[in-house]
């Protein structure tokens, strides 16, 4: 431990993490803005018009990053929840709680933009495709997590119960995905194939990656902002919170 330059465990305490998060948030907002602006510029002005789908395909630059983030955030949320359960650290559970609404938002955004994309391309708002269905179930899992945490008054118990639910969900997400996929191939004559991605121009891929980075940075910034609020709420009885200048004023 004595060789490490920064003592990382120091930041597992809400009191020292609160100011650190405050200092980090502007940087993540800045990164989100930079990635977002360059990604949007690339996706609207540089990326070529798709030969088959015309201009409508450009919603992919929001849709795909949102889907990626919805799954990624769930994994991170479950990882924080698991850490909180194992090490009994308060901050980990707060992080999990802070990430849940962002993940749910991403899942919702992915479904929403997906149906906007589906209407002009396949002529329908919704199809029971494997990806759409499992994304919908992922949204349900997020809502279940948030609802369970909201229903339990004791925050420590809410953290732990939520952690178990998140971990059970993590085991289930791949099972649900594959079951829905097999269900889909068995039950429907394949109406549309989403899986056959056409060879994608490099600029399109780059635009998508930039937008994904933007969403990622946004998710971090918002989660840190939210975790700061949660810290203030839960640690309101402590002296260090009472001495904060935003609390005093």
């Amino acid at each position: 431990m004595k060789h490490s330059i920064i003592h990382w465990f120091k930041f597992s305490s809400p009191a020292s993490f609160y100011p650190l998060a405050g200092r980090l948030i502007p940087w993540f907002w800045l990164l989100a803005a930079v990635f977002g602006l360059s990604g949007l510029w690339l996706s609207f002005f540089v990326a070529p018009t798709d030969a088959v789908q015309g201009e409508g395909y450009r919603i992919i630059f929001v849709h795909v990053p949102a889907s990626w983030m919805s799954m990624f955030v769930y994994l991170i949320m479950a990882a924080w929840a698991g850490l909180g359960l194992v090490f009994n650290t308060r901050l980990s559970a707060m992080m999990a709680q802070a990430l849940a609404p962002t993940g749910a938002l991403m899942a919702f955004l992915s479904l929403w933009t997906g149906s906007f994309w589906g209407k002009p391309m396949w002529g329908t708002w919704w199809i029971w495709d494997a990806r759409l269905t499992s994304e919908l179930i992922l949204l349900f899992l997020y809502i279940g997590f948030i609802a369970l945490q909201a229903a339990i008054d004791d925050p420590r118990r809410a953290d732990k119960a939520g952690a178990i639910l998140a971990l059970v969900g993590v085991i289930n997400v791949p099972i649900i995905y594959f079951s829905v996929k097999w269900w889909n191939t068995l039950h429907q004559g394949s109406t549309v194939s989403l899986t056959k991605a056409p060879a994608m121009a490099h600029t399109m891929l780059l635009g998508m990656l930039l937008m994904a980075l933007c969403f990622w940075m946004y998710a971090v910034a918002v989660a840190l902002k939210r975790v700061r609020a949660i810290i203030l709420e839960r640690e309101a009885h402590t002296d260090w919170v009472k001495q904060l200048k935003e609390v005093v004023s």
């Binding site: 229903a151 639910l165 079951s179 068995l186």
Partner: protein, 221 residues
């Protein structure tokens, strides 16, 4: 092992002393399945097509009804704490409660399903597969449901919350369970679906009692 048998016997005895609760969940199953032909129309071909899905969804909902009872009464009167303090591992006792729940809420569905299937114009081959699928699938429902039941112990609005937590996790069971009957009906081999149901059961038997135990310890600490 004695403890496991004892807790199963105790829970079955308690269920028999309060038959109305058990029977109401079963009648719920019968009523829900009977409502579908009234809503959709009694055309035999259509009924035959929707039968597996309807019977399975009704089975999910009817199992849900019994889930809340699994730990709630024991939690309220302190029995659950005594169980946690006992020298026997809590996981074993929890497994016993899950088995008892399945015997009371799951097994009757397996036995009732052929009767409901007849209403829906299913053939004998379909009925056999339906029973087999329910036999493999309803224990998964009890096992996964137990996690939700333990997590929502003593929580405000527990019943509605429980369904919100548990129903998304029931999706794979529903898909493979109903899928087996569909496969049989359309002349395919149902073996693949049944094997997957068996795999889900094995996975749930391993993980669910463990997660349920952890959730119970959180609830009573």
């Amino acid at each position: 092992m004695n403890a496991l048998v004892a807790i199963i016997r105790r829970d079955l005895l308690l269920a028999m002393r309060r038959k109305s609760e058990v029977l109401s969940a079963l009648f719920f199953f019968v009523i829900v399945t009977s409502l579908f032909p009234l809503g959709i129309g009694a055309e035999p071909a259509l009924l035959h097509k929707i039968a597996p899905g309807v019977i399975w969804v009704a089975a999910l909902l009817s199992t849900m009804l019994g889930l809340q009872r699994m730990f709630a009464a024991d939690h309220a009167d302190g029995t659950l704490e005594q169980l946690a303090l006992s020298p026997e591992p809590l996981g074993l006792l929890v497994s016993g409660k899950i088995v008892a729940h399945w015997l009371v809420c799951g097994l009757p569905l397996v036995l009732l399903a052929p009767v409901m299937g007849l209403q829906f114009n299913l053939g004998t081959g379909d009925l056999g597969i339906l029973m087999l699928a329910l036999l493999l699938g309803t224990p998964v429902l009890s096992l996964v449901g137990a996690i939700g039941a333990a997590l929502t112990l003593g929580v405000r609005g527990g019943g509605v919350l429980l369904s919100l937590l548990v129903l998304p996790l029931y999706v794979p069971t529903l898909i493979f369970g109903a899928g087996a009957v569909y496969a049989q009906g359309s002349g395919q081999d149902a073996g693949g679906h049944l094997s997957l149901l068996g795999a889900l059961l094995a996975l749930a038997m391993f993980f669910a009692p463990w997660a349920t135990t952890a959730a119970i310890r959180i609830a009573i600490e």
